[in-house]
Symmetry: D2
Subunit: 366 residues, 4 copies
């Protein structure tokens, strides 16, 4: 069962609530003899960390990770994985003590309050409990380990649309992604977004976004028919992220509008082997990687926590208006970029090991 | 591992190649004492069956299903499930004997030929082998069983876009879906599509499509955080279908463009309980059903088999042009409608049982 | 969920009832490019086939296997696996038409009649339905494929105890195993057993047995802590066989009686590497193979179908006496030998692939 | 994959090494609204805790458990599960700082040193690392949660054999189990064992044992054919415990020696329903519970850590003698009693939920 676990050979299980003492994950199946360190994992957590600009929640969390098992320091000082489960823990430090009376009884529209109560008949309402996006910190930690498993593969993400505003792909520059608070690859769009999102934020409103994740260096042959397709697992991984409403591989929904002629990725030979002349497929054919970059996108809805009152009910069935004061991201899509990268890395690591298991494929990675 | 198996408590495993002697599936975890019959399963297979109009492949397959295990006739003549695995088999009857020399050596662009060879170093090239959409017949058979598990839930699908042409939702009529060869809910669009697709077909070209699947009657509480989300499993199920490039829940990618105010599904009380005033979420909140209709869509790329030559290579690395003569669907999206319905039913059946297992939820279904 | 599926990377799912039209299995995860043939699978089925001597049931089943998918004939005539699921089917031919009225209503002591009804509220009573040992034919077929995956490993089984009568290990000769109808490695014991079991059979009684399975050629490193232990999976595999009541690894229960000094397997260096001076561990240390032969045993209870009446009840709660006429094995342990071999091969194949997946271990097998 | 996870609907994942900072587990799938507390979990850990008598290792560990997630205090002070993962952590406090130079290079006979190195090429040698029985503390914590899921079922264990010395079943008294340091149900045997084990301990030797676990109150119908058998999962659970070499259900290996007549559990009707006249089956028929007590045993080998030198080699292939000084259990079987209880409770909880999921069985437990 996959309720709080993702993956097969490379797999991880997360635990923790928004306002509990801590959250964390257990990464299982990581190959041995891979060099990892808390500092390295921390560097990815820092990308997702709240409070880094005025455009993300002002909740202050150090998100300091500790590795509790599965690694061992060698005589030369390197810390290597041992093949046993890697447990990582992040303490919650900014669980602001406040009265949750309001949230406790009122179902916030767009949040999981209503459906959790319907399912469990009990709910940790503090900060959304288990449904809080704080859980994604554990994903980013697991993703940092996954990246080491697929050494040789580069996984990068970018925000390609904020509300109705898309980047201009002609201006795409990966180096720009870390030069603005939006992980935006288009410096012109980034400036425009700053103004736009500031208005959204001041209005107490929120806006959705689209994230693109690209994995370069994936060899041909990862993935599997028929229910272990690489793109299927990417879709599953992205859709598991809070607030995601859509997932695309390659040209995605645009493929519906094309003819077979226009949609074909033709192939020619080059000195170093086959070369695809386009990548409408997004690097996946029949669920198996083709050796092209794996390209996928996901759509994030606007944060449901807004200042404008919305109609709702209480657990007791009383009609109420709900508005959410306090610390919230006007565009949760921004912090979804490192999360999407992490999930992509995790899916690829799992499929690399699965492929090696069934097919005996060898590389010099691990 | 999920390579050829889908689901957890309600699960099924498929097997078979396009031009082998047969294909089939094993459905495991179906509750006992549910009435099923070959005729009932057959009725759903008939919806997916090729050769029913000039708009689908002219391959002639009876797609006649046999149930080999897991059911037992009672003294009153009813055939009931016994709780043991249900094996279903469909013989291939129209494996046209021909020379596959061409396909054997040439990688058809958009097909899985290249990636299968990269993965396995061997490939059943006859009709696409395992990567053929014939595998989906087994899904439809499994879906017919799943529908009986979720008695009380109505699962219906429709083609909502063919190439660039969308239906007019104001004209949506579920009764129209079976009145045209496209599963189109809009009779006006259906007529326009007939002319449009006839031109595509005659040109030896192909076109993509978008399918929408709606499940009504899903109680609140099915699904699970964090990696067992209902919408996550729907995304996985849809993306596992051949040629699918994108998946959406509720308003999907459109959610990215909205403000939090516009995206909220407000709630009021009615005599019979809570009533949502809109369904932008598509019936899923935090990965758990809300009691609203579950609404999801997927985009299918145009058939890669077209008459126009495309550049490609052979397995030996020789540059060639590839064109595909013969029997093919100009719009594979049409026959994807019953497949999408089947996968939705399967996901819901699995989650109903999982919810009942963990939470003890009771209904009068089984 | 593992209700009718066993294994992870190498896995198989079985289906079918004793008196249904057929039974079979789907083997998933078999590596590609392995030569298999129906004849080869058949040769293992023939070892398990009933009616080969007066000491096994006189039910006449050809147990003829057909491979329906997952393999492909090459130009040189070899039939190779393609990496896709291998579906195998065995038709039931001797479902003697008779009145099952008796069995239908009466719970046979020692059989699963009572517990199936308690679980499912419905039961295919004909020949035991799903609980019949006919299911094990599918295991033997899957085991034949598994043996090809672990080429280089020899898996052999023998009956080491019939009722209270044990073999003399000083006389152990693997060549004798196929020279008698008991798979007995001790020719003297085999003769004694013939007389003994003939008496049991004529009395309409039955007797239990112990089977030993030995796998030679297993490299060090297969298996995994903590819940994926090689011996744990062997125990699970053996205990899943009908009528099994106990499982041992290495010296098993005898280990409880020993001191740490006597139980230690000491190690010395030989020219070709480490050499263990004894094998009390049975080839497994900490759940991981040590490179020594893997040695395991399981105990089979006496057939519950006997001529002497036993007290029981009907489904309606009426007290009755039950006796079983007809075709039954006086010692089901005999035919359990090829089944035990098959399960051992399956566990090893799964762990070989899992080890290769996580650890990148390479051999020249596949 | 099951490398560090056990169970399906009720499942848990453990992590941690003997001499790392902490160990723990994540329990997933626990139903909501069950009252649990750290104190309750602690009470079971205290039974397994080392250093409670001179007969167990003198390592001093508080084994203090903290629950980090998955529960929530209610207004009435009760702490209830919420249906989300329960993370529990136990800090290691007595990782005696010493020179591990010896163990690091020498393979201790009977330990997993050799096989871990063969598998991973790296090993946390401090106190056995992941292969240490300290991992079982996490099992006991998970088992404490499982007990709450199967409220109404009583799970009790006892040591029934120490070395060659068995209890006299005529003197069996459950109340005696906690009156001696051996969990021995026979007060006479307990006294004899005290003298016996004291001699073993002083000699720096060790001895094996057999543990019996009995679950009363299990309703008929839990378990599943064919690879989800209740006794199969018990065998798997017990064999996963460190040092276990054999597992039995009901009369176990003795069944091999009996005739069908003697092995039958006859049934009569009583006022409150069917009554079995004996329980040779150990409460399981065809893999499904019969409503009788579930009775299982496992054999534990003698501790491999002894004072007498044994022949071995180093990782570099040098022949050495190995002896183990320091703190060790002369009979690890003693502390295996609460571990066996925990694993039985976990298996039963998992199967209760699986049965409820597939079959809709209802009780008033949760």
């Amino acid at each position: 069962m996959s309720h709080n676990t993702f993956g097969h050979l490379f797999r991880f299980t997360t635990w923790g609530e928004s306002h509990g003492p801590a959250l964390g994950c257990v990464v299982d199946g990581c190959p041995p003899n891979i060099e990892v360190s808390e500092a390295e994992v921390q560097s990815f957590l820092d990308k997702r960390k709240p409070g880094q600009s005025k455009f993300t929640t002002q909740r202050r969390e150090a998100d300091a990770v500790r590795i509790l098992s599965g690694t061992m320091e060698q005589e030369d000082g390197r810390i290597l994985t041992t093949g046993t489960p890697i447990s990582m823990i992040i303490e919650n430090t900014d669980q602001r003590s406040k009265d949750y009376g309001d949230i406790k009884s009122r179902y916030r529209p767009g949040h999981a309050d209503f459906s959790y109560d319907a399912k469990y008949g009990i709910r940790d309402y503090r900060g959304g409990g288990r449904s809080s996006a704080r859980e994604t910190a554990a994903r980013v930690a697991a993703g940092a380990i996954a990246r080491k498993v697929i050494a040789g593969v580069t996984v990068r993400g970018a925000l390609v649309q904020m509300g109705p505003h898309k980047v201009d792909r002609a201006r795409w520059d990966w180096d720009e992604v870390n030069n603005n608070p939006f992980f935006c690859p288009d410096p012109v769009a980034a400036e425009e977004w700053a103004t736009y999102l500031d208005g959204v934020r001041k209005a107490g409103s929120s806006v959705g976004a689209v994230i693109e994740v690209v994995a370069e260096g994936v060899l041909a042959g990862w993935g599997a028919p028929v229910y272990g397709k690489l793109d299927q697992d990417i879709a599953s991984a992205f859709m598991s992220i809070n607030a995601v409403k859509g997932v695309e591989i390659g040209n995605g929904f645009e493929a519906a509008t094309l003819s077979g002629e226009d949609n074909a990725d033709e192939i020619r030979m080059r000195n170093d082997g086959p070369r695809f002349l386009s990548n409408k497929a997004g690097g996946v054919l029949g669920g198996i990687s083709s050796g092209q970059p794996v390209v996928a996108r996901f759509a994030v809805k606007p944060t449901s926590s807004i200042l404008t009152p919305r109609k709702s009910i209480t657990a007791e069935g009383e009609e109420v208006d709900v508005m959410t004061k306090g610390r919230h991201d006007p565009c949760v899509g921004i912090r979804a970029v490192p999360i999407g990268e992490a999930m992509m890395a995790i899916v690829l690591a799992d499929h690399m090991l699965r492929h090696r298991g069934q097919n005996g494929w060898i590389d010099n990675v691990s």
